[in-house]
């Protein structure tokens, strides 16, 4: 990676990424809106500040790994990868289309730079644990595995199998980020299948937990730095995000979990994003 962006530049980048998420989803005519918009700040921080990676050498053997466990949020990853230089932004308009490398859910073998194949929920953390164990066996002590997870997917038993394993082996080279936006397809997470107290759950499995405002760029970058300093536990960053963040009529509304905007809605959404003038203020400030 070249020179790091300033905080203001990162925040501006996150707006541009949101704009391209809206455009590509509208063009695709299907896909998930709320999650990707809520995750835009986290993905911007990851690809433009946190991760050790090289878009020109996606197989570089000393790169950090980023896994997306809740594969339905992949539009935010595609858009951020395109902005980071993995491929031309024009390709974003092929999202979900026949013959595209940008599959509806991510496939590792289709697009260089993707590290896993996901969609069916609850498996990303297990794969992260396998990678973290592999890095230890390979004596790669300066690499990390980052894994972005949904909150709804933590209904899956597979997640807690992985949580136990990472706790047992004290895999401090895993930095997991939960997109805690409190929605899933059928409604609010606490109605569908209550997850709180999520922090205590992860702590009781032997994890170091950091809670942040996941739409605050500075908080995200600080939390990742803190996480890398933890010596003896895997790390869970519970990132409180606003689903649909940046688009007024989508925010907090679980109906936007699995829907794309139509043309009129996309126009309105882009207007919303531009009215922010490159600044998304944290609701928690």
């Amino acid at each position: 990676m070249g020179k790091k962006l300033t905080l203001e530049q990162l925040e501006q980048k996150a707006i541009e990424i949101r704009e391209d998420i809206i455009k590509s989803l509208e063009h695709a005519g299907s896909g998930h809106s709320a999650g990707p918009l809520g995750l835009a700040d986290i993905f911007t921080a990851l690809y433009f500040d946190i991760l050790k990676h090289d878009p020109k050498k996606p197989d570089w053997d000393q790169r950090d790994i980023l896994l997306l466990s809740n594969g339905h949020c992949v539009p935010v990853q595609y858009v951020t990868m395109a902005h980071a230089g993995y491929f031309d932004k024009k390709e974003l308009m092929t999202l979900r289309q026949f013959g595209s490398r940008l599959q509806g859910h991510p496939e590792r073998t289709k697009l260089p730079g993707l590290e896993n194949t996901s969609g069916p929920l609850g498996s990303g953390l297990s794969q992260a644990a396998g990678m973290a164990l592999g890095m230890r066996m390979n004596k790669d002590h300066h690499r990390w595995v980052y894994v972005v997870m949904g909150d709804g997917e933590q209904n899956e038993g597979n997640v807690w199998e992985a949580a136990m394993l990472a706790g047992k082996y004290k895999l401090n080279n895993i930095i997991a980020i939960t997109d805690r936006n409190y929605i899933q397809i059928d409604g609010p997470t606490e109605t569908v299948m209550p997850l709180d107290n999520l922090k205590l759950k992860w702590e009781s499995f032997g994890w170091h937990v950091i809670e942040i405002d996941g739409n605050n760029m500075e908080a995200i970058i600080d939390a990742a730095a803190m996480a890398r300093a933890v010596a003896d536990k895997p790390i869970m960053i519970i990132a409180h995000t606003i689903p649909g963040k940046g688009v007024d009529f989508m925010e907090y509304d679980f109906h936007w979990h699995g829907m794309p905007p139509n043309h009129d809605q996309a126009v309105e959404a882009l207007k919303d994003l531009r009215s922010l003038k490159g600044k998304i203020r944290s609701e928690h400030e």
């Binding site: 496939e107 073998t109 297990s126 396998g130 990678m131 973290a132 592999g134 136990m164 394993l165």
Partner: protein, 326 residues
């Protein structure tokens, strides 16, 4: 067939019997010595899957997953992504029985070289009963694109198959039996992934068998010889990719086929051969195996008898097939 180096006398009363899982354990230990990237994972069944030999030799390359088969497959996927060749083992009833989707998404579709080791598969699981007698594993794994499916015939072949899979870059499933079964092959017998072997030559009926059932087919060949019927026994340790060339060559000659497996014939070896013959060379076919039923507690011999999978049953089926041919 001399170049196959089989044992001299399949009817010998003192024929050596070893469980295929023991051959796997030995093969994995050797694979671990040959390649430091070979790693092993187990879901709380380390001794009965015989992965304990590897664990004791290479403790740093062994991961105890606990009773968590979904995690077993997916942690294996992560290790493979880091350049490892993971052998992930449990009972077949649980892996791939419970974690099929994880295997599909994170191993097969993801195309990483994880080796799924399904122990205690089939009727040889005996007394444990229906829940543990995994009969659907061949069908489950065979329908998965990218997946290799291997069912060794005896302990020596299981050892060779394990070494071959360790050197192969594809995702794979290997099916193992619990009880000791006769050893038909010798150290010199060949094994290649994707190859079927003509164990006995004959022009009357082709009998295609897999796993431990090949022993029964070979005994049936001896019985039938006395009746004046020459069956051609094809041992088919790789169900996928199926060795269509060897099978079709034989069937062109015999024009009648019997398949034998201690698994569901629906989707199993019987299903695979039926699909091949249906498309390429339709001839009379009899599939011996479990016919849309679950297992139950009992001695393996009792279960094989109930499901018509002894040498006598195979011989009887061959007689019927000869009648059909006219």
């Amino acid at each position: 067939m001399s170049n196959l180096h089989l044992i001299e006398d399949v009817l010998a009363k003192d024929i050596e019997k070893i469980p295929t899982r023991k051959g796997f354990g030995k093969g994995l230990l050797e694979a671990g010595k040959r390649d430091e990237n070979v790693v092993a994972l187990c879901a709380d069944l380390t001794d009965s899957t015989q992965i304990s030999l590897f664990r004791d030799a290479f403790p740093d390359r062994f991961v105890e997953i606990g009773v968590a088969e979904q995690n077993l497959a997916t942690v294996g996927s992560g290790l493979a992504a880091m350049g490892k060749i993971p052998f992930v083992s449990s009972y077949a009833a649980f892996s791939p029985g419970r974690n099929w989707e994880q295997i599909k998404t994170t191993v097969a579709l993801n195309d990483v070289p994880v080796k799924i080791v399904g122990a205690h598969a089939g009727l040889y699981t005996g007394a444990d009963g229906a829940t543990h007698q995994m009969l659907e594993d061949i069908a489950l794994m065979r329908v998965m694109p990218n997946m290799v499916v291997v069912v060794p015939g005896d302990a020596l072949e299981a050892e060779k198959a394990t070494l071959a899979l360790a050197e192969d870059k594809r995702p794979a499933y290997i099916r193992l039996a619990r009880e000791a079964t006769p050893v038909l092959t010798t150290e010199k017998s060949p094994f290649k992934i994707g190859k079927a072997y003509v164990y006995a030559e004959g022009a009357d009926v082709t009998v295609i068998s897999t796993g431990t059932m090949t022993y029964q087919a070979m005994v049936a060949a001896e019985m039938l010889f006395k009746d004046g019927i020459d069956i051609e026994v094809i041992h088919c340790p790789t169900i996928k990719p199926l060795d269509a060339v060897t099978i079709l060559k034989s069937v062109h000659k015999t024009k009648a086929v019997i398949t034998v497996e201690e698994a569901q014939i629906n989707g199993g070896l019987g299903g695979a051969v039926a699909e091949l013959l249906g498309e390429e060379y339709p001839v009379p076919l009899k599939r011996l195996g479990v016919r849309d039923a679950y297992g139950e507690s009992g001695k393996p011999e009792e279960l094989l008898h109930k499901h018509g999978l002894t040498a006598k049953h195979i011989a009887m089926a061959a007689h019927h097939m000869m009648d059909k041919k006219g």
